[in-house]
């Protein structure tokens, strides 16, 4: 999909947008503090998927290691806000920037390593990250993790108070940030820089001939994508002030990558759809797993409670049926590359 104009909204996407907005507004009225926190975590996870989408979908660089940047963002934010006592907003911004810098470091080898070899390197990174982070207990809390001594509570001007009020405040804050980042990303990919990113993905030789600075564009793309994933980690700390390496196994990175692919690479909405698909598949799986009366089949259905299993199956089925991901369902004549 080279040389395309910014897409107009189709009726389907407008309808989807309205439903989604309605859902987002309704959620805080319908739930308890615990499930509201879980809902917020789902909203926040859009950012990790969006990060992969920018690197892979727009930049053409396969990253199987974005869970690492989520982890870096979380650990860094925890350190800034808990140990350095920085204000939350600054800590979150610095956390995302730290992850972005880590991403720039990975972006440098991505200059020369491409395709399946890059997949190999980033997978290696994803596997190395957990044992590596165990070795820095003062920041990561070592094997068992550590709680961060800071709470993100509703300020005085917030209309209500109590525990629910703080939960709603965090929810609104996170939703606003996610929407803001989605909007900024949409602008980014349709800007001059976004076009050079896509040109590099489609044909890096031709892009270089047209005067695009390959090095700068690739490193910047990876840094931005890692920074957004790091923002996801930062917001996770805001929601639950506890950081631990066991939240970031290699499987998590793979599931993030899979969400991006299932939703559809190279479209902004694909990232949202990917997270929705992950959530729906996970919920459907655990609902089926909890359903008794299947007799011997029940054992098998217990597997559906494992989100990694459901996701692996979903990934394979979707690769067969919808190679363009969920976001590509309505479109034709666009060859994925």
């Amino acid at each position: 999909m080279s040389a395309q104009a910014p897409r107009r909204f189709t009726p389907v996407s407008v309808a989807g947008l309205i439903v989604l907005a309605g859902l987002l507004v309704a959620i805080p009225f319908l739930t308890t503090t615990t499930s509201l926190r879980q809902a917020t975590q789902i909203v926040v996870s859009v950012l990790a998927v969006l990060g992969v989408n920018i690197a892979t979908g727009y930049g053409g660089m396969i990253s199987l290691g974005h869970g690492v940047f989520v982890g870096v963002g979380a650990f860094a934010t925890g350190y800034y806000v808990g140990d350095l006592q920085l204000p939350w907003l600054l800590a979150i911004a610095l956390g995302a920037i730290t992850a972005g810098l880590a991403g720039a470091l990975v972006g440098v080898p991505a200059l020369r390593i491409r395709g399946i070899h890059l997949a190999l390197v980033t997978l290696g990174l994803a596997i190395v990250f957990r044992p590596l982070s165990k070795r820095f207990p003062s920041i990561t809390g070592g094997v068992s993790g550590r709680s961060i001594d800071a709470r993100f509570d509703a300020p005085g001007w917030w209309p209500s108070d109590g525990r629910m009020a703080s939960s709603v405040y965090r929810y609104v804050f996170c939703v606003l940030i996610v929407v803001l980042v989605l909007w900024a990303t949409w602008n980014l990919v349709n800007s001059r820089f976004g076009r050079s990113m896509r040109a590099l993905r489609d044909n890096h030789m031709a892009a270089a001939i047209y005067g695009i600075d390959l090095v700068a564009a690739r490193v910047t793309t990876f840094a931005i994508s890692a920074g957004i994933a790091g923002l996801c980690g930062a917001l996770q700390v805001l929601l639950v002030p506890f950081v631990s390496q066991d939240k970031y196994p290699a499987q998590e990175s793979l599931v993030i990558y899979a969400s991006a692919v299932i939703g559809g690479l190279g479209t902004i909405w694909g990232s949202v759809l990917g997270v929705l698909a992950r959530t729906v598949l996970g919920k459907a799986g655990s609902a089926l797993a909890g359903y008794d009366g299947l007799g011997p089949l029940g054992e098998f259905f217990d597997l559906l409670d494992e989100s990694a299993f459901v996701f692996g199956v979903g990934l394979i089925i979707l690769t067969f049926l919808f190679p363009r991901g969920l976001a590509g369902l309505g479109r034709k004549n666009q060859v994925p590359k």
């Binding site: 199987l64 190395v128 044992p131 299993f309």
Partner: protein, 316 residues
């Protein structure tokens, strides 16, 4: 600094035996890459599944260990063929992304299934080379022989012999059989092989079968070093194997074995002996993993073909 050369042979032996195992798993990666230019990310998980098959057959059903291993390798080979036939053959081999996704999906599925059936705790699997058999004259102990003042474990000798035997069998299969000839033809040029009448699909299935069997062999041999089998056992082994395959060249079988052995030596001698014994650093496990990761990174950056691989020329 403590240049303790007395213990160095210990580390060399250990590195050589670990390296042989990495070589087996790296070979499993390379056999598939050579024919299809695909990295099977589920290699480690398939191997883990094979090791659990041995666990079930030997520890639970009480079948003789070596027979269990043979059966498990056969079943893994069958599973490899099945995966090739149903999941990867429908896709265009030139387009990497779908097959990468398929193998990632398999990674997640196999790991979750194994976790569901066997939990995530470590289960002891009999060491095939725990003690010398009775008919071997004793040369120092029943688990080791004294060489250069160090203990050369029976386990290391057993691993080397097993791998040498398996490699010999592989070279016979590849060089003396018709299927092996077809495999070499397909990995050298798919299009030409097809034109001269080689059934490419079946041949790729054959490659998957041998690769899966080798992975299982590696997993069974490495299990005693990890304390037993568990669903996450291959995650770090896969990194070392990937490093070995990258170092030797992703499309060279001999390179994979040598690369694996080199990685094992680097891990044991440079990192463990050099880092821990000489410099007194205690961050051993992480240094080892980081070293493997650095090997992958440096090789792919500066010599993507590895030591023995074919250089690919990119033309515009």
């Amino acid at each position: 600094m403590n240049w303790n050369f007395d213990v160095l042979p210990d580390f060399i032996f250990n590195g050589l035996s670990l390296g042989a195992i990495y070589g087996a798993v790296a070979l499993s990666l390379v056999l598939i890459f050579k024919a299809t230019t695909l990295i099977n990310f589920a290699t480690g998980e398939l191997a883990m599944l094979g090791a659990f098959l041995v666990y079930v057959l030997h520890m639970e059903q009480g079948i003789w260990l070596w027979l269990s291993m043979a059966i498990a390798m056969g079943l893994s080979a069958g599973l490899g063929v099945l995966i090739e036939r149903t999941l990867t053959r429908p896709f265009d081999p030139e387009d990497h992304l779908p097959v990468v996704l398929i193998t990632l999906g398999l990674f997640l599925i196999i790991n979750a299934v194994a976790g569901d059936i066997w939990n995530y705790q470590v289960r002891i699997l009999t060491n095939p080379f725990g003690k010398f058999p009775d008919w071997v004259p004793s040369l120092g102990g029943d688990r080791y022989v004294e060489v250069l003042g160090s203990r050369l474990k029976y386990q290391s000798i057993g691993i080397w012999l097993t791998l040498a035997l398996a490699l010999f069998a592989l070279s016979l299969i590849l060089n003396k059989t018709k299927a092996g000839l077809a495999f070499r033809a397909v990995s050298s040029n798919v299009e030409s092989a097809r034109l001269v009448g080689v059934h490419t699909g079946r041949t790729l299935g054959f490659g998957w079968a041998i690769a899966s069997a080798f992975g299982t062999l590696g997993a069974v041999l490495v299990a005693p070093q990890l304390g037993g089998v568990n669903p996450n056992m291959m995650a770090t082994i896969l990194i070392y194997a990937l490093a070995g395959a990258a170092l030797g060249g992703l499309d060279s079988q001999g390179g994979a074995v040598l690369g694996g052995i080199l990685v094992g030596l680097i891990q044991a001698v440079l990192v463990t002996w050099g880092g821990v014994v000489v410099f007194g650093q205690l961050y051993m496990s992480i240094l080892q993993l980081a070293a493997a990761f650095l090997i992958i990174l440096i090789v792919l950056l500066f010599r993507p073909a590895g030591l023995f691989g074919t250089r690919r020329v990119e033309r515009v």
